[in-house]
């Protein structure tokens, strides 16, 4: 698959097989094959990896905020193997469900400490 990485892949929305929003392509990771050629291995998503990419004091602030609202910092980013990508249009669409991927630690923290404590959190308003 030939794509212009910065234009077509970085910062795109990642969507699972059911249409759930998984995260954004905050960074990408390369690996090196047996013959020494680099290839695109994983998509990375999470505030921490985004903060590291943005850099500077703003990036550090993003990292600090990300670490404040998780249970045991520092959390690694969610890694999504390129082999899980189904297709790419205006978003990166995966062939798996969000439930089969590691959950976002921030989402889990806020759900446990805030949202689940409010009555009605389990019902969609539609």
């Amino acid at each position: 698959m030939r794509v212009q990485l910065t234009k077509r892949l970085l910062d795109r929305q990642i969507i699972d097989a059911d249409g759930r929003l998984v995260g954004r392509v905050d960074d990408i990771e390369f690996a090196i094959d047996d013959e020494g050629y680099p290839y695109l291995d994983c998509l990375l998503t999470g505030q921490r990896v985004l903060g590291e990419r943005v850099g500077g004091w703003i990036g550090r602030a993003l990292v600090a905020i990300a670490d404040r609202f998780v249970d045991d910092p520092p959390v690694p980013p969610v890694r999504i193997s390129v082999s899980l990508i189904d297709r790419m249009d205006s978003a990166v669409r995966l062939r798996v469900r969000a439930g089969d991927l590691p959950a976002s630690p921030l989402e889990v923290w806020l759900r446990r400490h805030l949202i689940d404590r409010i009555p009605g959190a389990h019902r969609a308003s539609g």
Binding site: D11, L21, G23, V54, A91, I115, A121, H122, G126
Partner: protein, 408 residues
């Protein structure tokens, strides 16, 4: 009727831009000080927001991407973050003002100080955001906001000199108030008609309603009915104030003075309808700004967002919503005047406006998103002209604000 129901998303989006709490007073003030001399600004603003809302709605319908998705994808994480911060500040301060506006409307009805109503208003707004179905919310508050049409009706009942209003609209004059004050008011009115949260809300609402390419006609009629209706409501506020206040040059800065022309025309019943209308439009604008703040943050970071899924599955989105409403309440409890709060946002809007509208225009020409539904030549010309106008207005806003001390 079906067309009107399909258009309620556009109407509700427009309410936050044209007749929110700041604009209820600002539009009436413009009418009192300058007569109809700012009518053209509303016309230009309606044309501009229609062009951009149409593009944003088309992108949302065809690709499922809302406006802040595009901002992040086109501007990259850093510049988009600058826009997110500026847009979030503008939107949440406006949300605070709207919560204050809801409370002021209730104060007008009950006589009990608005500060006591602020927590009640905030809780009611949050409850709607937490529980009410998106389409129902959009219809209830979009249609209830139309109660503001009572101002247009009052214009017919009052001894309106239509010829004079027409002349004021065509022969521009600063009415002895100075041209820098005139231009400050023009820039402030223009900036509020093209507020960034209108397109955040409109495009995200399209995604919430699962628009597809088959809904493009509905999306377009929502734009072409909703925003002109918003502009018409604001125009009728300017006109009634011009009829009642402009001859004597009386100044105007509270909500009950805004309602005065309707009271003169219809007495107590007029006041009741006006108060109901103020309540509906400020409540609607509070919903719009609250959701827009959370939409922008969620879309920037790629979080799950929306009212279609349970809050626990969109915990980050609902946390931002809750925190934004609480921040609004805190801002109001400093006893800052809610009506003046939105005026100061003009300066921060100057950062957010070009950084929001440029990505829309760029993506509206991108075949990867839109296939063969990309902009035509005329839409691009209109879009580019408005982007230029927005930049000029943004740059002019700050010196004008300083020279005129916020339009004094």
């Amino acid at each position: 009727m079906r067309k009107l129901l399909a258009a309620t998303l556009g109407v509700l989006s427009a309410i936050g831009g044209f007749v929110d709490i700041g604009d209820l007073v600002a539009a009436s003030q413009a009418g009192a000080r300058f007569g109809m001399a700012h009518a053209w600004v509303l016309l230009v603003g309606v044309l501009g927001i229609c062009a951009y809302a149409e593009m944003a709605g088309r992108i949302a319908a065809v690709s499922g991407r809302a406006v802040f998705d595009l901002v992040r994808e086109r501007l990259g994480p850093r510049v988009a973050l600058l826009n997110l911060v500026a847009s979030y500040v503008v939107t949440v301060v406006t949300l605070a003002a709207e919560l204050g506006g809801v409370a002021l409307a209730v104060q007008l009805a009950t006589g009990v100080s608005y500060l006591l109503w602020v927590p009640v208003a905030a809780f009611a707004v949050w409850l709607v955001l937490w529980r009410m179905r998106f389409e129902l919310m959009e219809r209830v508050f979009g249609l209830a906001g139309l109660a503001l049409l009572v101002f247009a009706v009052a214009l017919v009942a009052l001894p309106t000199d239509w010829g004079r209003l027409g002349r004021q609209a065509v022969q521009l004059s600063s009415a002895g108030q100075g041209w820098s004050a005139y231009w400050f008011v023009a820039v402030a009115l223009f900036a509020s008609t093209v507020s960034p949260y209108e397109v955040f809300f409109f495009s995200s609402g399209g995604v919430e309603e699962r628009w597809s390419a088959a809904d493009l006609a509905d999306a377009r009629s929502s734009v072409l009915i909703g925003f002109p209706v918003g502009g018409f409501l604001a125009l009728s506020l300017i006109a009634t104030a011009a009829v009642v206040y402009h001859p004597s040059g009386a100044s105007l800065d509270t909500l009950d003075q805004v309602a005065q022309p309707v009271v003169l025309a219809f007495g107590g019943i007029g006041l009741a309808v006006a108060v109901l209308a103020f309540f509906a439009v400020t409540f609607g604008a509070a919903l719009e700004t609250g959701l827009s703040a959370a939409y922008a943050a969620a879309q920037y970071f790629g979080w799950q967002w929306g009212k279609r899924i349970s809050p626990r599955k969109a915990a980050r989105f609902h946390s931002v919503l809750l925190v934004s409403v609480l921040l609004g309440v805190l801002a109001l409890l400093t006893r800052v005047d809610p009506i003046q709060l939105t005026e100061y946002m003009l300066i921060i809007s100057a950062v957010a406006l070009p950084l929001t509208y440029l990505p829309i225009l760029v993506v509206a020409n991108d075949r990867n998103y839109l296939g063969d539904r990309v902009n035509g030549r005329w839409t691009n010309l209109l879009g580019a002209l408005f982007l230029l106008l927005i930049v000029v207005a943004s740059v002019a806003a700050i010196p004008l604000a300083i020279i005129t001390r916020m339009g004094q």
